[in-house]
Symmetry: C2
Amino acid sequence: MSTPLSFQDIILRLLAYWKEQGCLVQQPYNIQLGAGTMNPATALRVLGPEPWNVVYVEPSIRPDDGRFGENPNRMQMHHQLQVILKPDPGDPQERYLKSLEAIGIDPRQHDIRFVEDNWDSPALGAWGLGWEVWLDGQEITQFTYFQQAGGQTLDPVSVEITYGLDRIALALQGLESVWSIAYGAGIPYSDVLLASEIEHCRYYFEVADVEALKVVYDTYEREARRCLDGQLVFPAHDYNLKCSHLFNVLDTRGAIGVTERANYFRRMRNVARDISVLYMAQRQQRDYPLLHHGLWQGHTADESGRVDFSLAPSFPHPFVLEIGSEELPAADLTAAIAQLRTAVPALLTELRLDYDTVEVQGTPRRLMIFVSRLASRQADRNTVVKGPPANRAFDAAGHPTQAGLGFARSRGVPVTELQVVEEKGGQYVAAVVRESGRAAIEVLAEALPGCIAGLTFGKSMRWNQTNVAYSRPLRWLVALYGAQVVPFTYAGVHSGRTSRGLRPYGAPSITIDDAANYARLMREHSIVTDVETRQATITTAATALARSQGGVYRDDPELLEEVANLVEYPTVLYGRFAERFLDLPAEVLVAVMKKHQRYFPVYAPDSRLLPAFITVRNGDAVHLDTVTAGNEQVLRARFADAEFFYRHDIQQPLAAYVPQLATLTFQARLGSMLDKVHRLEQLTPAVARLLALTAEETAIAQRAAALSKADLATRMVVEMTSLQGIMGGHYARTSGEPEAVALALAEQYNPVSTTRPGLALALADRLDSLLGLFAVGLAPRGSNDPFALRRAALGIIENLVANQRSFDVRAALAEAAPLLPVASDAETMAAVLGFINGRMEGILRERGISAAVVRAVLAEQGHNPYAASQAAAALAEAITAPDWPEVLASYSRCVRITRQLQETLPMQPEALAMPAEQTLWTAYQAAAASQDGTVTRLVAGLRSLVPAITTFFIDVLVMDEDLAVRHNRLALLQRLASLPTGVADLSHLEGF
Amino acid sequence: MSTPLSFQDIILRLLAYWKEQGCLVQQPYNIQLGAGTMNPATALRVLGPEPWNVVYVEPSIRPDDGRFGENPNRMQMHHQLQVILKPDPGDPQERYLKSLEAIGIDPRQHDIRFVEDNWDSPALGAWGLGWEVWLDGQEITQFTYFQQAGGQTLDPVSVEITYGLDRIALALQGLESVWSIAYGAGIPYSDVLLASEIEHCRYYFEVADVEALKVVYDTYEREARRCLDGQLVFPAHDYNLKCSHLFNVLDTRGAIGVTERANYFRRMRNVARDISVLYMAQRQQRDYPLLHHGLWQGHTADESGRVDFSLAPSFPHPFVLEIGSEELPAADLTAAIAQLRTAVPALLTELRLDYDTVEVQGTPRRLMIFVSRLASRQADRNTVVKGPPANRAFDAAGHPTQAGLGFARSRGVPVTELQVVEEKGGQYVAAVVRESGRAAIEVLAEALPGCIAGLTFGKSMRWNQTNVAYSRPLRWLVALYGAQVVPFTYAGVHSGRTSRGLRPYGAPSITIDDAANYARLMREHSIVTDVETRQATITTAATALARSQGGVYRDDPELLEEVANLVEYPTVLYGRFAERFLDLPAEVLVAVMKKHQRYFPVYAPDSRLLPAFITVRNGDAVHLDTVTAGNEQVLRARFADAEFFYRHDIQQPLAAYVPQLATLTFQARLGSMLDKVHRLEQLTPAVARLLALTAEETAIAQRAAALSKADLATRMVVEMTSLQGIMGGHYARTSGEPEAVALALAEQYNPVSTTRPGLALALADRLDSLLGLFAVGLAPRGSNDPFALRRAALGIIENLVANQRSFDVRAALAEAAPLLPVASDAETMAAVLGFINGRMEGILRERGISAAVVRAVLAEQGHNPYAASQAAAALAEAITAPDWPEVLASYSRCVRITRQLQETLPMQPEALAMPAEQTLWTAYQAAAASQDGTVTRLVAGLRSLVPAITTFFIDVLVMDEDLAVRHNRLALLQRLASLPTGVADLSHLEGF
């Protein structure tokens, strides 16, 4: 192996490579930027219709990524190499991969992957879809189809390729830290940049003068505005960049709260938008000088000529459609397969094409539809077409009139074949139109574009002049009916018979001679098209691999689904990390492995973590050691980062973070997170009382409430929000808080609390959020639920149910209301309760309980989720009893006759004269006395009353003429009717 | 010829070239910089002992160079490519020239020159010596030996090479404007950068918010200080750079007065100094990590062994010394030749080496000493050494004592050869010590280093580890005595026999076999070593060339001397420029041609300028057309710039610039230039009255005074200070001022005024400066004359003399005094007058007038320069008359006898009784009546009195016992003695 390139040689080679691809070679910008995207050579040039191809290096400054030179690959300054290709040249990924080869990265020796990563800059009003490119697990490039910039939709779309040069050098030189990289001239990277790195970190984290820089920000924003007033795009952009850097510095100093942050973003975005609009107007005014630039013509598909379908085969054949694309996001792949599994059979039916089976599969680079024994032609079809009334089509003599003749002619049938049909009492002539089936290949050619277009994705993108939207750029189409191409064009791509092989093998062309051979050819090229097979392969191999190392692989279906969808040919590998990282909380390690790297953790038999991980490579086992070493290196850097946060966070006790919550806005009118904490400190004990906690438990709950949000101000949680609560628990322990407090903190966001103080806190937190946000008018609408209030409501319900706790939500809301800084009236509380009931209804219905039963129970117990849940189950059971209709009918008679009464009548038992009256009264008293609020007792009671009620209605005329008698009887029935009050409203039930 | 490189390819090639030379390849800095020097890769890395070799591109921002994209090669942003070589590799110029070849610049096809240009950044506390490199007249590179940075002396010195990439591309692609340059990918430079250029100009010149940015400057300076307090070098440097850019913006907006500017410079320099000191301390603390870097060892001369001088020839031979160096500044070359022409003969004499002739010559790259028939050995020498007194060296018997024996032994002579010598009346023994002459080659080897070290230059530099100082790096030494090398080492260079040829021929090695052949070999290699020959060649060729084009070449000795010293082989060429530029004032065109380009203007026979110039190329006529075209292109850009200034300046009348003078400080206590103008508006009419100008002339002078400094605020004068006054005159005309006002303005700085209003203004201006600056204690001291007050005094004198105007300086100073904002007492006025008299004395003495005469005249007429000048000449003439001693003696008798009298005695003519008295009185009256203040009449009068005086002293006893008689006679003599009052004080004369 030859000596790897130095850092400077990597840069020079890449510049030369992209120059050869027709790019301009520009310089880094002379203003501190967070990313090459902000350089006007990108930020402005991507706007408007003009072509633009450029490459440049951009030392990028991200103050909050500073680690004082202690992290192996995370720094406040890293070097980007930025490429813009506008418009899409049609093969940007291939060009990119060749650029890696140009600097010595052989795809055969590594694992290079395109992992979904969508880019969004709220400060720039910009976003795009694309990938992180992973080299042996290390993110080395951001590859994006830029969709919008400065709030403007981009047309054409630009391909943006952003190399992380430092990490590439690290990988290429096989080192453990960027500071060891050979920069050039025999000098290590550390000698060039380390002193500056450390000092800049100290400036950003410790020294910068917050108040003074805020003033400069305001000044520079005004300068940007002055520039815009003077129609000066570039100077305005410069100032917006300076503002952005100042913001980053302020942010790193911890000087910016959430609301303030949104405010700064809005300000920068507004300036960016105005700059973009002005730039586009100016370019238009100059008649787009680069628009007719010869070298930069976009890639356009040449239209294929008409096709002769007469050669179509005449008996069934297999059909295959392969939609080849750049790497689909894992979730999009899953979604697309599901959609096609429904859509394709429906389509074939609609097309009247018989078939044997439909199989839909896919990998990140291809969606595949295989239809066996597809009919060569559509079935013929007779259609009855209604014509004029019969008496106008034929005269009285039965001869056709002009109208009749005209209709027959227009439908292409002899007049003699017209029939008479009857409709809505009238008689009409009708023609039976016979439609011959067309060749399958012809109808497929027509239908397939619509089939592909019918796919929907969470986020779609455009990439070329056709402006077709798809998950990621669609690059090839294989469509074969038997040996014949089904010819069509979609998104500028012509269908054909050429597929592409695995990327690690150089993505060779694969010619499919016949649809029948598709599966075999894929296998021969090591492509595992079948999702389930890939998943099974991974599970089997991972289990065996873990076991061989004395460890345990745990199923993780969600992660498995994603991982299996990131590869076309999974090969599992086993990596290790340093033991010392096990000192960090296991949740942190697991979160890092799963979230950032999609690694499977490996456990010891005693369930503790082993210092190891399992991951999957796309391709075979060749040079697997290189890939393993690369992944280990990545994880080392990730863990070092976590260690950095952890060490920082435990320098002060958890309680010390509480005051910082004042800068974190919960919601504008509801105050900061600190305000919320203050409310929870009062609400949690009240909830504890409602839950009948002991004094000791209540004190623990209250302490937990006081610390509940402190971890939001720690670096670990700022970096990985998913660890909120969990870190609170850890830091509580390191701060010497009681274990019970730590437990309550740790589980506060869990669906189910395992401790009683934890339950009190979890309920209080969610109740405060629900009532507060409803009170300020932020109840969820439609699919818009930014504060995740549905989850909060579900959390209350499920937690109470799981803990089998009766709990009066109404009472709790009444405690919460006065603590809020805004008024919340009875109506608001009712709305919250209604919202919770809505979730309850969903849960109970999902358990198979009928809507009627659910409604019946919620009408009386909606405020008490656990009780309602129990009651619903019991009621659902009860109504299955054979005598239930009789019981209900009996009860309902009592209700119906008393329903119109406005008020509860007084009851005079001594005035009941008739035996049936007296018997019923006695029976009622016994039934009422037996009630305990459960459905069981209720139903038993009602059942016990049936004979007495029956006798009563036989023997007694309720509506006696004597009003006193009548009223006394009605009063008795009212009491019977109210027996289920507080348990269920039986009037909702069927048969009532 | 192959296609020239694109702009981006030039960059990539140069980076690759310097990488091959062992340089690190770094990136431009991410802060707006005025020059690559400010990038910490230079500004900090040049400090301290560590080696450092780096190359990087630096887009450099100089707001006030902005021309709104209208100039062909001047922009607010240009691209530098910066190279630092530390330490000096020994051949940086050759490496640099090879880099030009690497991008396709063939030295044979162009004129590449190293033209002195010393670099100095007051804001950075940095300076260096070196050159502009000219490519066909175009400055394409700054080549500097960096001597000091951040106020710290650099050791080792760094070689700093700063390419002007845009201009190089312009030249290489043979274009007329940078905006036409092919940038790369088929895109012109204009499509990449023009819009940004124009907009940034508009921002810098028209939009930037001055007050707001001043506040930011203060904030950023404080941030820099905070960083320094925290020991953070790099962040502090960043802020200092930001301050520098802010300053440039403010300056371009015209928001910074002279004093304020100095203040800002001081602030930036102080921060830069503190940064440098801190950086150096930190590097030392880290034990200089790069110090032992293997690849970057400095260039050290290997010491040569001892030399055997026994082979020295034994009869006279020619001797040649050639001191080869990088290009000497023209003035240094002249100075060095002059010094050697004196020093070498003196040295040879001191060395007792006989010779025939000494010739000293030189070119920019070599100083040459040729000695014909130099003796092969020193002459022998006998030295008499004095010993002890004779009576202690020999006893009474004449035998030597121990003392005598010891002395003889110590001097190496037999005691018998001791002699007795007499000195100051004592007798001593003495030894005659005989010293044999050593070989010439040996004594030369010893003496030549001292001879070279004895050269002094205006500014010397160090460049390598020897820390020897010389004008520019000394690179080779030829020292031959006949065919033999005179071996010595100086500045790390060993003497030898290898010289180097012309740069355009690739500077081939020239081996000198024998000193006798030196001149022939130089001729053969086309090197014209003789300064006078080069000058004559240029004059002859230029005259002929101009004539052939119908024009006239005018002698300009100063320019000729410089131009002849810039080349080793002059070839004259004739270039043209566009007619339209002739619309600009001729002075502007001439100033641009001479000052910036060292071109000779060409005149039509009617003395108007022709649109043409003559310049000199170093080398022969091969590809002279390319060189001519290049020079024409340069001049076009220069003139376009002048046109830009001119067009801007005439957009408002000259008077409109007056208020801007408020920001231009004249002197702190004397106020702004506007204050000075206000004083001149009052003083000039007063001076006019003293000059007896008419009312009309006075009005003109006053108007001129009001406008006198306005042009200092115009862009043309800001750019070319030498045009002050001249531009005032032009702009007065374009503003519609009377021609007389324009004339007065135009000539205000001239030594001689041609108009009377101009004279009044010129005198008023200088008097105000003299009196004001003396009053605030800024009279010149020693050689320190920052306000050029010597020139001001001379200007007053010469102007009055040339205009033959009597003028009472005392009266004028009395008018000036009350106008000043500071007190100026009689003593101050006397000091000014004394200062002017000092200059007068110098002028008159230079005319050959004796000190006595000058003193005599100045004693009486020092306040009136013209009159004094006339009187001195006349008196000098008068004292040459044969009878003058008699006349003076006669007069002096009258003076001497009355000198002690304290007061003038009353005269009673009627009381004169004796005929001699009466005769004298009568004669006196006649003489006194004939006086007109001239020396001629005075001398005639004194001569006429001689007989009467003689008779008087014979006949009359002055000191009569009768006091009344005595006093009357003394009174008569007092009147005689006072006859010269106001003309001359004859007591200063010889023979008085």
